[in-house]
């Protein structure tokens, strides 16, 4: 096996140290890596002259290192997807963003219906959102149900097409892109005064996760160090975000099956936990909290004490409310067996986060690629083997417990306030930096490539939802269409994080 150029999570390497492989060699090496246990964390293009340089970031969970492979293509290259399903959405994205044709890709259609970032055209792509060839089954009794983009609840827009036979779904096709705001394009040439705010609004509910990843990328490029106390506060904020969203998800799951007690209580408790984040920085989603080099606000003694007490109460309340789920037979009857994904499938399509852990995959950035405070304090990884809605709910609950314990531990031993962090804005030129963060949905991957001027030549964001949407489509196969909202909520993927 060839040794690739590797770097740790939160590291940076000069661009020229990654060999520019020939396309077939690139393909071979990526496939070899995937066969040997690596996972594609990102696969993206970066403009170089009138060609596009493809980077593939492989995450090696056993060594905790990330390897970078690259190749330069003009307009076509042999597709990875036929032998490596987890690449399929990345390659569709490449085709759409850069007008590169992955030859042999079986499913080449738009991801977000965005306008290409490169003028040259090989194959015209439709830009009106939702106008595409959808997979279709025909035959007697087979019918199609199309949902969205506007849904009946307070949900983000997305389009879903079900090929059904009665109540049974044979195939679900998900078409997104309605939330596409062109963030990646706007990031090129940065950072500027808006960059941090783009990160905060990539996915509003993952503000901490995405800003942490961004800040770590910048810190890697500027080679600056983050004071220990800031690392702890970041860790606490990340886990608070996880707790709040998981509680909210469990409440919403209860709501989807009409189980009122848990739904009502969890909605309120989630608000309480969000208010804890607001205690740190004044904003319920953690806006303004994470900044390059450290944190925007520090914890005062008073807020520390409040945080500790209120978190304890919130977790006690949550335990009461959520344990009702596991004690009520009518709830378990709905959760168990709904929307199952096998471990093998999860591995093949590269699921991340709660969805992966619910299939029994031990996959967690905080353990596999530890960074920041997680290098010091370990949060035990939680898995469940059934891969169904129950597993995704139960893993969430166990993670809430673990995270709360982690926060309470950290609050006990908060490092003393350090001197102001030295943070320089001068970024290395022609470097590639990447940071993985375990957001509450799963692995967030940010990769920055700088140009000669030390500005972003391109900035790649991979939200966990990008890996997981296809998992939802597979989970619905041979399920009842009426269980779709339940399955959807058990994944609770981000539309805006995917659409960017």
């Amino acid at each position: 096996m060839t040794i690739d150029r590797t770097l740790p999570n939160g590291g940076s390497i000069p661009l020229d140290s990654t060999p520019d492989l020939a396309a077939p060699e690139f393909r071979r090496r990526v496939l070899e890596g995937v066969t040997n246990g690596a996972r594609i964390a990102a696969l993206f293009g970066c403009p170089e002259g009138d060609s596009v340089r493809l980077f593939s970031i492989l995450a090696w969970e056993d060594t905790g290192l990330l390897s970078v492979l690259s190749t330069t293509v003009k307009d076509r290259y042999p597709s990875l997807t036929p032998d490596c399903p987890q690449a399929h959405l990345f390659e569709r994205e490449l085709a759409e963003q850069w007008r590169i044709t992955p030859e042999g890709h079986p499913w080449l259609k738009p991801v977000r219906f965005q306008t290409p970032m490169r003028g040259k055209s090989n194959e015209p792509l439709p830009t009106q959102c939702g106008v595409a060839d959808f997979f279709q089954m025909t035959g007697e009794e087979v019918h199609e149900v199309a949902v969205g983009p506007v849904h009946a609840g307070i949900i983000e827009p997305g389009h879903f097409r079900f090929q059904c036979h009665g109540e049974t779904v044979h195939h679900l096709e998900i078409s997104l892109g309605y939330q596409h705001r062109g963030i990646e394009k706007a990031l090129a040439g940065g950072p500027d005064k808006r960059t941090l705010h783009y990160m905060e609004t990539l996915a509003g509910d993952t503000t901490i996760g995405h800003t942490t990843a961004y800040c770590r990328t910048i810190e890697a490029l500027t080679k600056s160090r983050v004071p220990a106390r800031a690392q702890v506060v970041r860790g606490i904020a990340l886990e608070l975000e996880r707790i709040a969203n998981h509680i909210g998800d469990l409440g919403a799951l209860a709501g989807d099956i009409g189980f009122l007690p848990t739904m009502s209580y969890c909605g309120r408790i989630r608000g309480d936990v969000l208010n804890l984040t607001a205690l740190l920085c004044g904003n319920r989603f953690g806006r303004r909290l994470i900044e390059p080099g450290g944190t925007g606000y520090d914890l005062t003694e008073d807020s520390l004490a409040q945080l500790r007490d209120r978190l304890k109460t919130a977790i006690t309340d949550a335990e009461q409310a959520i344990s009702l789920l596991w004690k009520t037979p009518s709830v378990l009857a709905r959760f168990e067996g709904a929307g199952p994904i096998s471990r093998k499938t999860a591995e093949e399509i590269g699921l991340v986060g709660v969805s992966a852990r619910a299939c029994g995959l031990e996959r967690d950035v905080r353990r596999d690629f530890p960074y920041g405070i997680f290098q010091m304090a370990h949060i035990p990884i939680v898995t469940w083997h059934t891969g169904d809605v129950f597993a995704r709910a139960f893993v969430r609950w166990l993670e809430i417990e673990r995270s709360a314990m982690f926060i309470l531990d950290q609050l006990e031993s908060l490092p003393a306030r350090p001197p102001a962090a030295p943070f320089t804005r001068q970024m290395s030129s022609r470097h590639l930096a990447l940071a993985l963060v375990e957001g509450w949905r799963g692995e967030i991957c940010h990769v920055a490539v700088t140009n000669e001027a030390g500005r972003f030549a391109c900035y790649k964001i991979v939200d966990p939802s990008f890996h997981n949407w296809f998992g939802l489509a597979l989970a619905l196969r041979e399920q009842q269409i009426s269980d779709f909202p339940l399955c959807n909520k058990s994944f609770n993927l981000s539309y805006c994080g995917h659409d960017l």
């Binding site: 009946a152 009518s330 779709f484 909202p485």
Partner: protein, 308 residues
């Protein structure tokens, strides 16, 4: 003249009080959730507002869509005139009126389903399909339960049935009547789209049954539909409460009092059920209905055995 006044009073009290029941159900749920909850008279406010609003019709719809709310409402109102309040005779009563009662509810469903199909939307078609599937199973339960009542009371008219049912009937046929009430309670939940069969609060169009069929209605049409739904709740509730309070053997002034209390208890009971149960998977609803069918058949067999 007195009877006429009494009948008019009964009808109007039903017509006016029916939406209140939904308010009680929602308040009970709010109490269980630990929130203040919507006002008891929220549905009245909603309807008053809707009646003053305009309408939007899809271009795919035809006159069927527009006619359905009115036909549905009149059907359920007809059913109301057939239903006595406790021991007071119904405004309209003749032998066999319970067949008309069941068919009026059937007519209401027929027009609702037809209107849903008329929109040509895949959701509404799906809702219609579910509605028809479940009602096909619910109708026999209702018919058999009514048949058992006929058997018990020895008369094929609703008014006569409830006039004939006394504490003595309960003493003789208690277990069977309990079974009938249980079966009718399931039907009550199914027909009125309550948990555990349907979730009246859900916003998820793929899981709805009844709600999804009326997604396309707006303005006064929607007000009619909401009103008809509350009347249906009322009239089916009356059926259950009438059986239950016949145990008390009340006369005169106490009858309407007990009836009112009974309706409130029923509403609270529904609120409690909705607060402590998750919704069933759609595939399991037929099992629930089959269970209700078994209850009704058992009651029927019991009554047939012991009334000879």
């Amino acid at each position: 003249m007195k009877t006429l006044l009494l009948h008019a009073f009964m009808l109007f009290s039903g017509l006016i009080a029916a939406p209140f029941l939904l308010g009680v159900i929602n308040r009970t749920k709010a109490l269980f959730a630990g929130r203040k909850g919507a006002p008891l008279f929220q549905l009245y406010f909603d309807m008053a507002k809707l009646l003053r609003k305009g309408v939007t019709y899809s271009r795919t719809t035809t006159w069927i869509f527009r006619a359905a709310p009115v036909i549905g409402l009149s059907a359920v109102m007809t059913a109301m005139t057939l239903m006595p309040l406790a021991r007071m005779s119904a405004p309209l009563s003749f032998p066999g009126d319970l067949v008309l009662f069941a068919y009026c509810l059937g007519l209401m469903r027929f027009v609702t389903v037809l209107a849903a199909l008329d929109t040509g939307s895949s959701f509404e078609g799906m809702g219609a399909s579910r509605e028809v599937q479940f009602s096909a199973l619910a109708e026999p339960v209702l018919i058999i339960a009514i048949a058992a009542l006929v058997c018990a009371a020895g008369s094929p008219s609703l008014t006569a049935i409830f006039a004939a049912m006394t504490r003595a009937t309960w003493q003789a046929l208690g277990p069977a009547l309990v079974l009938i009430v249980a079966a009718l309670l399931v039907i009550f939940l199914v027909e009125n789209a309550r948990i555990p069969v349907d979730d009246p609060n859900t916003h998820l169009e793929l899981t709805m049954i009844h709600e999804v069929m009326v997604l396309d209605y707006s303005g006064p049409d929607l007000a009619f539909i909401l009103y008809a739904a509350s009347l249906k709740l009322w009239v089916l509730g009356t059926l259950i409460v009438n059986i239950a309070i016949s145990f008390l053997d009340l006369h005169g002034f106490f009858t309407p009092l007990a009836f009112t209390a009974g309706m409130l208890v029923l509403a609270v009971l529904v609120g409690i059920i909705e607060s402590i149960m998750a919704r069933l998977s759609l595939l399991k609803v037929p099992r629930l209905l089959m269970g209700a069918l078994v209850l009704a058949v058992l009651a029927f067999a019991f009554i047939a055995r012991f009334t000879s």
